[in-house]
């Protein structure tokens, strides 16, 4: 199995999964209570105008025809009009998605930068104070919900120390200092989310490192006279990071899901806010779009993990054990 066929298979798998996601999304949003025509025209609309609108929207067609129509439109990036905003769903999402992505990527990056070294140190210093401290930190990280981290951070760094703004999003183009202002607004939400993600990645890194450090090739590296740094980084870590990649991908997806609450805490107008609005206002096309996009993010992060996997593990790159 070459690298190419490996990737083709992963992408193919992804496409099939996405098809299922669209099906589930469509079915679920269609069984939700509420008549779209009534939602649009209001409760006082006449039966005739409701009928006309239903015909216009294709709501009288069999469900499977509606699904195929919707899927075909989706394929062309046409997600319909938002009922609430009266604008194309695609445009609304494209407006908010980058902001959420920015937050999720920053949070994940923060978590990775913090957790990999911590996990490695914890493994190397197994059962020593450094390990206990790191594990404790990890436990606290997982146990406390993201929004609480957010509130604590706002209180400490924004209200008391006045280092960062309490919330809000400023696009680089709108601010005087360009990206600097955006980043100042990004720091608190990204770190508070990052802390929650750190714990898992760190603990996975630790256990994966411990496993590798006990392996025979590590013993041989020591027997070759390699310095401990080379043994840990070049030998053990390069192997240990492979399973961690999957965890990071999951954490990124988790970050994307957790964003709904956090965006509220930090007044960050992203996908979370948009999804919430869609639900509250029964804006079915917008809701469908949001779900599909979030699912896409999830799957793309997994694809990225698969690619990284192959990069780090030559057994995948050049086809399995022979």
């Amino acid at each position: 199995m070459s690298m190419l066929s490996y990737l083709v298979r992963r992408v193919g798998f992804l496409a099939v999964t996405l098809l299922f996601v669209t099906l589930i999304t469509f079915v679920v949003t269609n069984v939700l209570p509420g008549d779209v025509a009534v939602l649009i025209l209001g409760p006082n609309a006449s039966e005739a105008s409701l009928q006309a609108l239903r015909a216009d929207l294709g709501l009288n067609q069999p469900l499977w025809v509606q699904y195929l129509d919707w899927l075909w439109a989706l394929f062309q990036l046409d997600m319909g009009q938002s009922l609430r905003f009266g604008e194309p769903v695609w445009g609304l999402i494209m407006d908010k998605l980058p902001r959420s992505l920015l937050l999720a990527v920053a949070a994940t990056a923060f978590a990775v930068v913090l957790s990999l070294p911590l996990g490695v140190i914890a493994a190397v210093k197994q059962n020593e104070p450094a390990d206990v401290a790191a594990s404790m930190f990890g436990f606290v990280g997982v146990s406390i919900p993201i929004f609480l981290w957010g509130l604590v951070f706002i209180l400490v760094f924004a209200v008391w120390l006045n280092l960062f703004p309490t919330g809000g999003f400023v696009a680089p183009s709108q601010a005087e200092n360009g990206w600097m202002t955006t980043i100042r607004h990004l720091v608190l939400p990204a770190t508070s989310m990052g802390f929650a993600l750190t714990a898992y990645v760190m603990r996975m890194t630790r256990s994966s490192m411990l496993e590798e450090l006990g392996d025979e090739y590590v013993k041989l590296a020591r027997a070759k006279g390699m310095s401990e740094r080379v043994v840990v980084i070049r030998h053990a870590f390069r192997n240990a990071v492979i399973p961690v990649i999957t965890v990071i991908a999951f954490q990124f997806a988790y970050a994307f899901g957790g964003i709904v609450v956090l965006e509220q805490v930090f007044f960050w107008p992203g996908m979370g806010k948009l999804t919430l609005t869609a639900i509250q206002s029964r804006d079915i096309p917008l809701l469908q779009g949001c779900i599909i996009v979030v699912a896409m993010m999830y799957m793309l992060s997994n694809l990225a993990a698969d690619v990284l996997y192959a990069y780090f593990d030559p057994r995948i790159r050049y086809g399995g054990e022979n």
């Binding site: 392996d215 090739y217 041989l220 390699m226 192997n239 050049y318 399995g320």
Partner: protein, 722 residues
């Protein structure tokens, strides 16, 4: 290993004039535990000269690996060297700091580790793993380091070394990986190589090649080798001097010939006696009772006294005996009776009855006809599909399959033991599982007592299960850890309606006593037993349902030789009493020779040779059998077989060679016919079947010297085989 050039006396004389390369004095390594520290190496002293190979031999837990790791300063927490000196070229390694040791390790002392499959980093190219050692210890440029690495690879017989430099470990076979590990060890031209069970994970034909390689390299370079092994055969074929370890102590130190001619410690004698030699006849193997004591519960007095047939009262009370010279011999032993005992003759067990004879006049109990088992290659729906244009014309989509077993015939008569022997991947275990219908055969038939098992439904098979039992290599994982031994055995009886209630309890007790345990063992859990005892439990479990056939899949491979001998004797005894037939699977030629009546030698899913043990072990041979037999290292330094080294490695069972599957490696290949026609497993009329195109006369001829010598040069051209 310099034995072939210089005699042991030469070595001794050089040792007298020079300072020894390695001089270990009173080395003591212990591991701290919650209770008292466990002494893994107990005041061990020995010396090793340049150009000398010293073997450290002993069973698991003897402390041989810890000794080796102590010399390298690689004892992991909570272990610690607490006493003694390790003088290497006059400098005490035990006194060096970790930083200083890093300049010694890999540079002047190199390790060749045990497990070639796990000792290489899977994500780094083999080349870079050699280069990093070179760059660490030598002041060379990157290009020079690469050249040195490629030279080292070529020197260890890796074909196309320069091309393979950038390959990853998983692209190499086990034997080739071991060569890479040796290349890593050699790259900095060390003075001392510590080889820790370097061939234990390898097949016997590969082992022969690796041992020869180490021999050659030592002759060229004159380094000292400390050979850690449990295999006395390996010792006999490679070492100049030997130290025997038991429960942390060096109990005997001797020159090679002296060790085998006249061992001075009863443990050494027992160890040598326990090995079933391929060229000797036994009814019963001489054994040592019991097993090595747990290091946390050492007996007072001599550690070996509880198992020693010569032990006296003084042995049990007078403290741990010191290692000292034995009168009238050049050897040293840690035994207070060493001077008076003459252990030059092996012990012959009392029961020297006549060899058993199997009655093959009736119907066989088990008949296997044309058995095939193919597994689909690759995973998923699209896995294993390839385009095939072999028929010419339009390419066809063809599903690849692994032909694990590809047409196997044999039969077993009541009370008979039939062996399946071959190297890893030859399909022997698949045959066993397919015979028992644990795997569904792809083709062919299995008849048990004339019932076609392959046609029976699963419920009918289940009712026959009581008649066919299985014993596995690792009893620890085949016995339910959460049930008592009595519960495990009792449940088997109930399930098959053999016994229940009070009768069941009685029978469990009887069975446990039958396999050499006490009836009281019924209340214990499997983890409370040692490996050998667990295998006894597994045998009792199999016997519980009164089977007529037991399939034994490598039942003694995980056991130490002294325990292995006990289990083999037990199996033989049970067969003599109960008339049970065994299908015995093993890669160990000596074991198979000892226990089997008839034997099938398997190669690449097919039977190459089938016949009585006498037939198979005597000419005429199938060329593969001949190579296999010649590769077995004899535990006797006076016997050296002219090894037939096979080229390359076993081809892939996905795409086996055309014609005879052995022809790609056969030293006696005659030509086109071998490539065109698959030879039939032909009977010469005496029940001795061989699948080969050669005539019986040709098969009786030894493989010429030229062939054995050619093997390496041919191999270097056989990159695709690896």
């Amino acid at each position: 290993m310099s034995r072939t050039q210089s005699t042991a006396t030469d070595v001794a004389s050089t040792a007298d004039t020079d300072t020894p390369l390695l001089d270990v004095r009173d080395l003591r390594t212990q591991f701290s535990t919650d209770a008292d520290p466990v002494v893994a190496v107990n005041d061990v002293s020995f010396t090793l000269s340049r150009g000398e190979t010293m073997g450290i031999v002993g069973e698991s837990g003897a402390g041989k690996s810890v000794t080796a790791r102590s010399v390298m300063g690689l004892i992991d927490h909570p272990g610690e060297i607490v006493g003694g000196e390790i003088l290497f070229d006059g400098e005490d390694l035990a006194a060096k700091s970790e930083k200083e040791m890093q300049t010694v390790r890999g540079n002047r002392i190199a390790l060749v580790p045990q497990d070639p499959m796990r000792s290489l980093n899977p994500v780094l190219t083999v080349g870079s793993q050699i280069v990093e050692t070179v760059e660490r210890h030598q002041n060379v440029s990157e290009t020079e380091a690469k050249e040195i690495a490629i030279d080292a690879m070529a020197e260890t017989g890796i074909p196309d070394a320069a091309d393979r430099f950038s390959d990853y470990p998983h692209e190499f076979s086990g034997g080739m990986r071991q060569r890479v590990l040796i290349a890593i060890g050699l790259a900095c031209e060390p003075d001392l190589i510590i080889a820790d069970e370097p061939t234990t994970a390898l097949d016997v034909t590969t082992q022969a090649k690796i041992l020869d390689l180490l021999n050659e390299l030592q002759e060229e370079r004159g380094m000292g080798i400390l050979m850690i092994t449990h295999n006395l055969g390996v010792v006999a074929q490679t070492c100049d001097t030997v130290g025997v370890m038991y429960a942390g102590n060096l109990v005997e130190k001797a020159e090679l010939e002296a060790l085998f001619e006249r061992p001075t410690h009863p443990y050494t004698r027992g160890l040598i006696d326990s090995i079933p030699e391929t060229d000797r006849e036994y009814d019963e193997l001489p054994t040592l009772d019991g097993a090595m004591p747990d290091l946390t519960e050492l007996p007072t007095g001599c550690n070996f006294a509880p198992r020693c047939p010569y032990a006296e009262e003084a042995c049990r009370t007078a403290g741990d005996p010191e290692l000292r010279g034995v009168e009238g011999t050049p050897s040293a032993a840690a035994c207070i009776r060493a001077d008076e005992l003459d252990l030059s003759e092996g012990r012959v067990p009392d029961a020297a009855g006549l060899g058993k004879s199997v009655d093959r006049s009736g119907d066989p109990l088990l008949r296997v006809e044309g058995l095939k088992k193919h597994f689909s290659a690759g995973d998923g729906v699209l896995g294993g599909l390839t385009l095939d244009r072999s028929g010419g014309g339009f390419p066809k989509l063809k599903r690849q399959s692994v032909k694990a077993v590809d047409g196997v015939d044999f039969d077993i008569y009541p009370g008979e033991t039939v062996g399946l022997v071959g190297e890893s991947g030859c399909g022997k275990s698949t045959v066993a599982r397919t015979v028992l219908q644990l795997l569904e055969p792809t083709d062919g038939g299995v008849y048990f007592d004339d019932q076609p098992l392959h046609e029976l439904g699963s419920s009918e098979i289940r009712s026959l299960r009581a008649e066919m039992q299985m014993i596995f290599q690792d009893p620890g994982s085949s016995l339910n850890p959460r049930k008592t031994v009595g519960g495990i055995i009792g449940r088997a009886m109930e399930k098959h309606g053999v016994a229940s209630g009070e009768e069941k309890h009685e029978r469990v007790g009887e069975l446990l006593e039958r396999v050499g345990l006490s009836a009281g063992a019924a209340g214990k859990y499997p983890h409370e037993f040692s490996g050998g005892q667990q295998q006894r439990v597994a045998i009792a479990h199999a016997l519980a349902v009164e089977p007529r056939l037991i399939v034994c899949d490598e039942p003694v491979s995980a056991l130490d030789v002294s325990v292995q001998a006990q289990i083999l004797n037990l199996l033989n005894e049970i067969q003599a009493e109960e008339g049970i037939a065994y299908l015995f699977i093993s890669h160990n030629i000596g074991v198979v020779k000892h226990i089997c009546d008839r034997l099938a030698v398997m190669y690449l899913g097919e039977v190459a040779e089938f016949g009585t043990v006498e037939d198979v072990f005597d000419a005429p041979y199938h060329p593969y059998t001949q190579a296999l037999l010649s590769a077995v290292p004899h535990a006797d330094p006076t016997r050296r077989t002219n090894r037939v080294l096979l080229e390359g490695t076993v081809p892939s069972p996905i795409d086996p060679p055309s014609g005879c599957s052995f022809r790609t490696r056969c030293p006696k290949k005659i030509g086109d016919v071998c490539e065109r026609e698959d030879p039939e497993l032909a009977d010469a009329g005496d029940g001795h079947h061989i699948a080969c195109h050669l005539s019986r006369e040709e098969m009786s001829e030894p493989v010429g010297e030229g062939h054995a010598g050619d093997a390496r040069s041919v191999e270097s051209g056989a990159r695709s085989d690896d």
